[in-house]
Amino acid sequence: MDFLIFQVPMLTVQAVLDGLLLGILFALIAYGMALQWGVMNIINIAQGDLVILGGYIAYFMYLYGIHPAWGVIVSPIIMYFVGVIIYKLVINKVVDRDLFISILATFGISILFMQLMNFAFGADVVLANSGYGTTMLFDNSVTLPNSKIFSAFISIVFAIGLVIYMKKSKLGRAIRATAQNARAAKILGVDTEKVYAATFGINAALCGVAGALISITFTIHPYMGLPYTIRSFMIVIVAGLGNLPGVAMSGMGLGVFEEFADYILGTEFRIGSVFLLLVLILVYRRFKLSKKREYLK
């Protein structure tokens, strides 16, 4: 076996650390997906494109001389309104319909966004340089960019903040009530239409945060959205709806898996392995459930 990772054992540590930090970001995106899936029963294929759009907002701040870390605050605010506009234009017409309709409609939004971003920002791979430097560990054999640590920290802060918000605030309680039973919530005076719009907006804002962090730590490109959608979908189905620790754990697991796939199979198979893993997980769950004569629904 001439894999690099077996010759240099320290790379294992590197891969695990990279994967964990990356996985926290994935978990943040997946949290947004779990939120809208649980509340509105919609699977948003455009999730990844919202992430990339959030990343471009941070990138533009960087271009105009503002430190891209401020994007973490600006991007979610802009993305919240983008999310609400998308909801008002498209999503509110597919909320109660067949799930396939919502998948297809958000697929259309995804294609639209991809191309609009391609026009607006060009097809180059870009990154917003934060200039945070790197930390060396274990005698300089493991390098850890500070921007990754920063992004993981910010993700955790946002996730915890949102959990508290959902528990304590009035809107948070309304969202949870609507998720449990939309009709009953309506009868008790919750404006579900507003709740849905807010949910989609919060989801888009989370995507905005994650996108800003991705543009600092990694690279962004108009066509890179779909893998993020698939990753978050995968994390949600592994963890289950409404299981936040599970989302964090499976997000980090996925991050580590990807780093190892990168080292062992090669970078060209990285995205392919993510999609194959999705298929494998779904098939595994299908066989597990079929023993109990149930099925994924």
Binding site: I103, G108, I109, L112, F113, L226, F269, L278, L282
Partner: protein, 349 residues
């Protein structure tokens, strides 16, 4: 019945004459045939069986690669062909080209059907949106993985054998047009025959309520797998012809092109009307005309238009053209309309 024969004869005559009357549109007409085949095959799966898939692009791309690989590999070493960019070092004689193409098409049809049968048991156990996302993942994974395999050209693509000159005759366009037209007729007749059997009723039962169908004693899994294999068979054929027609295969832009072809199939079937025989044919024709017009006059904005089109069709027009016609002229579809009853209902509203 008499009317139908006239209709079929008219379409057949138009199909045979078209490439000579509109010689400039030969390639477009061939692509139209391919699109109709894809829409029909998607409809078997998504419209009749209710298993909405994004993954039939898998069989299309598989057929495309298999057909070209067999056509080259029968006579020349495949690895050297892709390495040298193909046609520069090796030249197919006409006999080799046609033999290879025929063998390639056969493989391109049969192997995807077998693949569908093998993965069918695992994947078709998923339902609803899980199935849709799983097949989406399959299609993209296939594209990404085939883009990393050296022997079929990896990232730089695969040039299919150039069409040979027979004597002084240059008939590339006609050859591929009649190939795709013949396959289209074959597909249409086969699907029409299938739709007149009990098999179609079983598929519809699965679509309407799978649990009840199972409770009625139907082995739904068997029928689902067969339905998917039929779909894959024709998808592979269409892919094989398309590979020869385009002349160049790239993993993510031509073969496993989920962003274009994979969505087009779904859109065409929905635009025409899911779950009807003629719906996909009409939908594909309308879509192709619209698409070509838009691609020509608004170059660059085509994906924006595509995205908007998907959203508009899905939200405002989910029943499609056939569904709209059916609502407007129910008598033509064999539905008995009780005029008094209809009026009573209208008054109630």
């Amino acid at each position: 019945m008499n009317k139908n024969i006239i209709l079929y004869a008219a379409i057949l005559i138009f199909g045979v004459v078209a490439p000579f009357v509109f010689p400039a549109f030969k390639v477009q007409l061939s692509i139209l045939c391919i699109l109709i085949i894809l829409a029909i095959t998607w409809n078997v799966q998504g419209g009749e069986m209710g298993y909405n898939t994004f993954g039939n692009i898998l069989f299309y791309g598989l057929g495309m690669y298999l057909c070209a690989s067999v056509q080259v590999g029968m006579f020349f070493p495949l690895a050297e062909w892709t390495e040298g960019g193909g046609e520069k070092t090796f030249v197919h004689t006409p006999a080799q080209f046609f033999q290879g193409f025929a063998a390639g098409l056969a493989v391109a049809a049969i192997v995807p059907a077998i693949v569908a049968g093998l993965i069918g048991y695992s994947i078709l156990g998923l339902r609803g949106h899980y199935f849709a996302i799983c097949t989406l993942g399959l299609g993209v994974a296939a594209g990404e993985i085939s883009g990393g395999i050296e022997i079929i050209g990896a990232g730089q693509g695969f040039t299919t054998p150039p069409f040979p000159k027979v004597g002084s005759l240059e008939a590339r366009g006609e050859f591929f047009y009649f190939c795709s037209f013949a396959v289209l007729i074959f597909t249409f007749l086969a699907v029409k025959a299938i739709y007149s059997t009990r098999f179609k009723l079983v598929l519809n039962a699965i679509r309407d309520n799978e649990d009840k169908a199972e409770a009625m004693g139907i082995q739904t899994m068997k029928y689902k797998i067969i339905g998917w294999m039929i779909s894959a068979f024709f998808c592979g054929l269409a892919g094989g012809i398309m590979g020869g027609l385009v002349g160049y295969i790239d993993s993510t832009d031509v073969a496993f092109d989920g962003r274009e072809m994979g969505v087009f199939m779904v859109l065409m079937a929905i635009l025409g009307g899911k779950g009807t025989l003629w719906g996909p044919v009409i939908g594909a024709t309308v879509f192709h005309i619209f698409k070509e017009g838009f691609w020509t006059f608004f170059l660059g904005w085509q994906y924006v238009a595509l995205g908007v089109l998907i959203v508009v069709i899905v939200i405002y027009f989910p029943e499609g053209i056939m569904g709209w016609l059916r609502e407007k002229y129910p008598e033509r579809f064999g539905e008995v309309v009780d005029e008094a009853d209809r009026k009573a209902q209208v008054e109630l509203k």
